[in-house]
Amino acid sequence: MRSKRFVALHVSVVFLVAASAAFAHHGTSGYDMEKVVTLKGTVTSFNWTNPHCVVLMDVKDGQGEVKNWIIELGAPTILSRMGWSRDSLKPGDEVVAETHPAKNGATNGLSGASTTLLKFVVNGHPLAFR
């Protein structure tokens, strides 16, 4: 599932004053909702499926090692109402993506749920976000 492809290096972190109001069916307790990480990498998979759409992307970390990140988004019905489709991302796309990282340091992030959708720029073009 986690392929290793070359990606550009870029990880930056922004601390938010208040947590976003993301509202996934399972809650947000596994993610640090007061922190936003900006990832720059290459999409390896985009799963347009319930209960949540998932983006897999390769990102080079600060030591130059490529890590495959799992980015969670809203359900297809929720994302489609925000302007996304199953074709919004495809393997090979160069992506700059904001995400709330996992609290435990895993390469997992939450980027969207019911009312929020963090910024995704795909091949230089931003997708809808709110």
């Binding site: 509202f23 359900a75 019905t77 435990n104």
Partner: protein, 265 residues
């Protein structure tokens, strides 16, 4: 076979929704109920449209809608024990780790009042005899009979037995006959099979629907309480988001589990 079942269910639902002659079989309408029904049908407020939750507060406790202090709801010892055992997705006790949320673990029905907390739409379909409430999340629906009383000894079910009446601009829905398998909210508050719900639907303006729910459950709560949620008119068509156990398990294994893996801590 599944397709046949799906088609049959669709036909039955369509018949139920669009047939004005369908009558509940459990109890005949009283004279008062018939009179109320006639008044109601002639003056029923319009709840048409799809409704989407605003904000998404996970608890119905009016003094703690975010579930920051969920233990302060006035629970009986029986309910408190269940509450302490709950590992819910939201509120002060929110956790990803080893959840016992039956919706996540088994795709169990979320229960009526918890359904209003999800970010999916619902819709009320009004007929002279019945109101049908259709929920996008899990594709469940519930009937509300406008012309009869509750059965004297209703079965205990996931959705209970709902009867309704119109009071001016408000639809009042009274429901009993629940099992005790669901939580009333997203923060792990339980209920018993004695739960009695009174829901009040009121269209505050063209684009706003307010739903207030009074919870009466003497086995679980030492006093009743009433919570409110506000929904906005959606311009998106109704869709269905099913809860597939295989999809849910894959998601938990591949997406959620890494965030609780102690090796990363």
């Amino acid at each position: 076979m599944c397709d046949q079942k799906t088609r049959l269910a669709t036909v039955l639902l369509a018949a139920a929704v669009f047939s004005p002659n369908l009558r509940a079989q459990t109890a005949g309408p009283s004279a008062d109920a018939k009179k109320q029904d006639a008044q109601s049908s002639a003056n029923a407020p319009d709840f048409s449209g799809a409704w989407a939750v605003v904000g998404g507060s996970p608890s119905w406790d009016p003094s703690d809608p975010r579930g920051a202090k969920p233990e302060e709801l006035s629970m009986t010892p029986w309910a408190m024990a269940r509450f302490k055992a709950a590992r819910p997705p939201f509120g002060a006790n929110a956790t990803f780790d080893n959840t016992n949320d039956a919706v996540q673990k088994y795709c169990d029905p979320p229960g009526i009042t918890r359904l209003y907390s999800y970010p999916w739409q619902f819709k009320l379909i009004q007929t002279p005899d019945m109101v049908y409430i259709l929920f996008e999340f899990t594709g469940v629906w519930r009937p509300v009979a406008l012309n009869r009383d509750h059965p004297k000894d209703p079965d205990s079910t996931w959705m209970g037995d709902s009867i309704g009446r119109y009071e001016g601009d408000t639809l009042v829905v009274d429901t009993v006959g629940f099992n005790d398998k669901t939580w009333i909210d997203q923060v792990g508050h339980p209920h018993s099979d004695a739960l009695h719900l009174i829901e009040r639907f009121r269209r505050v303006d063209q684009d706003t629907l307010q739903v207030s729910v009074t919870f009466e459950d003497p086995k679980a709560y030492t006093k009743s309480f009433t919570g409110k949620k506000v929904f906005k008119l959606s311009h998106s068509p109704m869709e269905v988001t099913l809860c597939s156990l295989s999809e849910m398990q894959s998601f938990q294994d591949e997406v959620m589990k890494p965030t609780t893996d102690s090796l990363h801590k």
